[in-house]
Symmetry: C2
Subunit: 621 residues, 2 copies
């Protein structure tokens, strides 16, 4: 699908060197960078590694890193040359002809360009004799050479066919350097390119680099601009990934490698122009509104859920002929309650919290186009339909987390699917105007080691944009919190809020106390009318302490009458520069799921996160 | 034990406000700071909170924080005064007469001292009418006021009895400010003092403050110097703790509060002078050498362990008359193998890895003095002896982690304890010179949420000093790594290495793969002689890949003959400015425990951590 070779450094992945090679090949990369410490710790000899890569169909594109070669101490420089020769021996065994040479961060680094040029020329001559090429890289924390442009000036001055550049997006962009001048470097003097993204962090750049890099699309660097400049340079070598990330180091290497390939495809798709050989993802039909959610309740566990749905204005619209599924409807909204046996797992080894949200249904005219796009981006997506009821391409299902999928559904799907349900006897389908008008957003719990992976999936497949929201501090810890929002293109943008579940929150102490992350927030036009309607149906919203309303009064100076009305219905409040936000919550059902009703006034952009700690404290443990 | 009142902010702890108050009282604090968001989220009214604190014997020392009071916009300042009045109402309910007022970090903060003085005087007059005092604190990231000296200049200029200072060690020391001038501030104008320590971090100070503070003794700030200056000022109010720490927020509040009280006592002990009223910990007899370790093997699981001990030169010296304990001896060293039933837990809900190290025995002339010291520092310590064999005060046992204790043992204890063992028939007690001469260090796995707690315990009770060691990157992740070393006072200093077990490493994927952290490293005078003796006993050290020796040759230029000798015995090597380090490993026994034999040459200070990834890759999963 792309004419550009893809590669990945073994340091990105967990496992032994042999396992890393297997994972890289399984994900579909063309080649690999061998990270020296992985080789040193491997019981396989260099020639055995070469043979294994060959069998797997992988090229060994780079041996890395060779550090601290230049030195103001001539005797040390001689020892460094001897060290390089020893590494050339290893490369010869590996069958790899390209070595990464980094600029030195030592106090003994050469600080005179002319001396540095002489030393690097000597090394290049030694390499040439062994048929090896060197890719010189400016570390962002190099003592003397720490910008890509300086490294290019050195390489240009050395002017040796065995010495070229390695460009690493992290070292360029973490410094805030302008990547545009990459276009001015001759492409054939760029020997290698390493990609890394990263969240913006105000910290020591070495620590930042060593622990917090992530894949393109998982951070906030402008990699597209880097890619466009790189294409202009004429570089046509591999696009490789070099990510130092503590989570990747501890995760499943097969999954990480697949995320890596997706990230390169996503990056190429974002940078491609007509006529180039970069990867392009298939086009899709636009997404419409969220029209349905499916909730796994477990057998015999759905009675509280049913009464809450009823209070929210949903009406039981049918029971499935064959499965233990109930259909609840309100206007255009559908909630499917799944009371059939079956186990949902929240984490390996931990039993599910039921009820739990398992599917989010969103309208599109051509679900099959979404399945094609997901497949091209290395996301396993099933085209699913209910056998004998729906056509096979009526629904494209993309698993977002281990427990929740986004189902892109054709408009025809709902109707034909509905035919499998029989009406519930004695229930009058409501004819009154629905109180709830749509789905404002859906909240999902994401384990910390899947966080970056889930963000990348939502960005690449659905074109959603991540926004950092304030961390939520609650009674049992701190929760990282992010919204991902699809570009508008429907009446209500597709909004998800992601709450990070960490190892600590998932511990015995935390799990028992966390108030809930998974939720469905329904929108309404007038929350006071909605609350009154619910009260008539016997609904009691989550009770909010009076201290909260005293604090609201002190912070916002709201009129006492309004505050009293809000307190009576458990309605919370927030405000930003663009508007206001009113919301109320149901009590938590089981350990994790709750519903929210929200009213946005004006252009309020947030999700009421300032109130999350109050909500969580109010939700019974 | 101390004339200085102790206090702690509720933000330090996990749980509801009511649970936090219970934990603070249980730990033995005198008072508490109420953190506003805890109150806002509480279903208890201010008067109910006051009553609960009174019943628990706690004073409510401070209400905090009141933010952003000053403003260049006069209308906003008026609104801020109204907000303050609303909070004075809350304080009146709480029965608390001291409010923390922070300097403003907003762009709208007043930047003219004269205006700021006028606005704070207005606020102080309002407070005075309500019988309330204000403690003004310079946030390190305040827009205009961000040093304690500037905050003191403002307070001095306002010159109002209801306005004084709050000093927070984090805001002073994170900026690198000199705390000595605190001595020049009149103690009666310091209304409150908050203590926090922190690891040195090169990051944005706001994020640093909000997430990475910890208790005195857990970080690297020079709090003793701060304390000495504070004592000179004449301040005699409470010493309080205000710690924003993500781990504390998720942990057991009772344990966290107890650690907090210990940290204040440790700090006072380090700063006290003759005649002051600070806490002083009881004196102890010096620690001697590590003389024994106890290993839980589980019933019927000790045969591999026995053969490894035999290969290391230990000889079975006895079996216990009543319990399934075996005694192994070599010179002055004792290893007790516990094959009795009983379960060791590595983490809540996770089964133990057996064999596991459970006790470290260290010699001292007066164990009872150690038990007294531990008790005074709020560490549960048992004086234990084997019933009917040892006197009750022969051993002071301090639990360091949930699985491992340090047993301070009287010299008489070993002899009398040995009497409970019967010699193993047919075993000749070795008369040859022992190969192993002592215990160089012991490695312990520490869960991430106990890390700071364990460091504080070892510092405060045993006077050990922590040293950051390089993180260990291995096939399954990254492990934080620290050594704690007792000041020399015996032939071999008491050294522990602590490896952090994170949620990720403890996950299904990680646990199955982590090579091991828990180990006992024995010292020897000549590792080649030791290796030869072991080989004669049929010992095979952990095999090290030949790639490692190629890399050693390239890095250190060691002679080929030496390298060949090392490779034949599985000996690894490291070097620092002061000396050399040779070491070898046994294969891992079970999932976590291994033994190491080390030889230090010259003044080498490390633990061979540069080789840890190679070791871990070589240890079978």
């Amino acid at each position: 699908m792309s004419g550009v070779a893809t590669s990945i450094a073994t340091v990105c992945l967990s496992g032994t060197l042999a396992e890393k090679l297997d994972a890289v090949a399984a994900a579909g990369f063309d080649g690999v960078e061998v990270f020296e410490p992985d080789l040193v710790a491997s019981p396989l000899s260099a020639t055995q590694i070469r043979e294994r890569a060959r069998t797997l169909g992988l090229t060994i594109d780079l041996y890395q890193p060779f550090r601290d070669v230049d030195s103001t101490d001539p005797a040390q420089f001689e020892r460094n040359l001897a060290r390089a020769e020893a590494k050339f021996d290893v490369m010869s065994g590996l069958g790899c002809d390209l070595m990464l040479v980094c600029s030195s961060p030592l106090p003994t680094a050469v600080r005179d360009d002319a001396v540095l040029v002489t030393q690097l020329r000597t090394l290049a001559e030694r390499a040439q004799r062994r048929g090896i090429r060197l890719a010189y890289e400016a570390l962002a924390w190099g003592t003397h050479v720490n910008t890509y442009w300086h490294s290019w000036e050195i390489v240009r001055a050395v002017d040796h066919p065995s010495l070229g550049l390695c460009l690493d997006s992290f070292h360029v962009l973490s410094r805030g350097d302008d990547p545009d001048r990459i276009a001015d470097i001759p492409g054939d003097k760029i020997f290698f390119v390493q990609w890394a993204d990263s969240p913006a962090m105000a910290m020591d750049v070495l620590q930042w680099s060593r622990h917090h890099r992530n894949f393109p699309g998982q951070g906030s660097f402008d990699l597209r601009r880097f890619a466009v400049a790189l294409q202009s340079s004429g570089y046509r070598g591999p696009w490789s990934l070099e990510i130092f990330n503590d989570t990747f180091r501890a995760g499943d290497p097969v999954r990480t490698a697949r995320d890596g390939l997706r990230s390169l495809r996503f990056l190429q798709d974002s940078a491609h122009c007509v006529g180039d050989d970069l990867f392009t993802a298939p086009d899709v039909e636009p997404l419409g509104d969220v029209v349905s959610v499916r909730i796994a309740a477990g057998p015999g566990k759905s009675s509280t859920l049913q009464s809450v749905l009823g209070a929210l204005g949903f009406v039981p619209a049918g029971r499935h002929r064959d499965y233990d599924l109930q259909l609840w409807r309100q206007g255009q909204l559908t909630v499917v309650v799944d009371a059939s046996p079956g186990t949902v797992w929240t984490a390996p080894g931990l039993p599910a919290h039921l009820p739990a949200l398992t599917q989010i249904g969103i309208r599109s005219d051509d679900p099959a186009s979404w399945a094609r796009r997901a497949h091209a981006l290395a996301v396993p997506a099933d085209s699913v339909g209910l056998p004998g009821v729906e056509p096979d391409d009526a629904v494209a299902r993309v698993e977002v987390t281990g427990t929740t999928s986004v189902d892109v559904r054709a408009p025809s799907s709902a109707a034909s699917w509905g035919a499998a349900f029989v009406p519930v006897p004695g229930v009058r389908t409501a004819t009154s105007v629905p109180v709830l008008t749509g789905v404002d957003h859906v909240g999902i719990a994401v384990p910390d080691d899947e966080w970056d992976s889930v963000i990348l999936l939502l960005r690449s497949v659905f074109g959603m944009e991540p926004h950092d929201e304030p961390d939520i501090t609650d009674a049992v810890g701190l929760m990282r919190n992010r919204s991902v929002i699809a570009p508008a293109g429907s009446s209500t943008p597709f909004r998800l809020t992601l709450g990070m579940v960490t190892g600590l929150a998932a511990s015995t102490f935390g799990t028992a106390r966390r108030g809930g992350i998974g939720h469905v927030a329904f929108s309404c036009d007038d929350i006071f009318t909605a609350a009154a309607a619910m009260r008539r149906r016997g609904f009691t919203a989550l009770p909010i302490p009076s201290n909260y309303y005293d604090d609201l009064a002190a912070r916002f100076g709201l009129p006492g009458e309004l505050l009293a009305q809000m307190a009576a219905s458990g309605i919370l409040y927030d405000r930003d520069a663009d508007g206001e936000f009113f919301h109320l919550f149901t009590p938590t059902l089981g350990a994790d799921l709750f519903f929210e009703v929200v009213q946005r006034v004006g252009g309020y952009r947030g999700f009421g996160d300032a109130n999350a700690a109050v909500r969580i404290a109010a939700q019974p443990a």
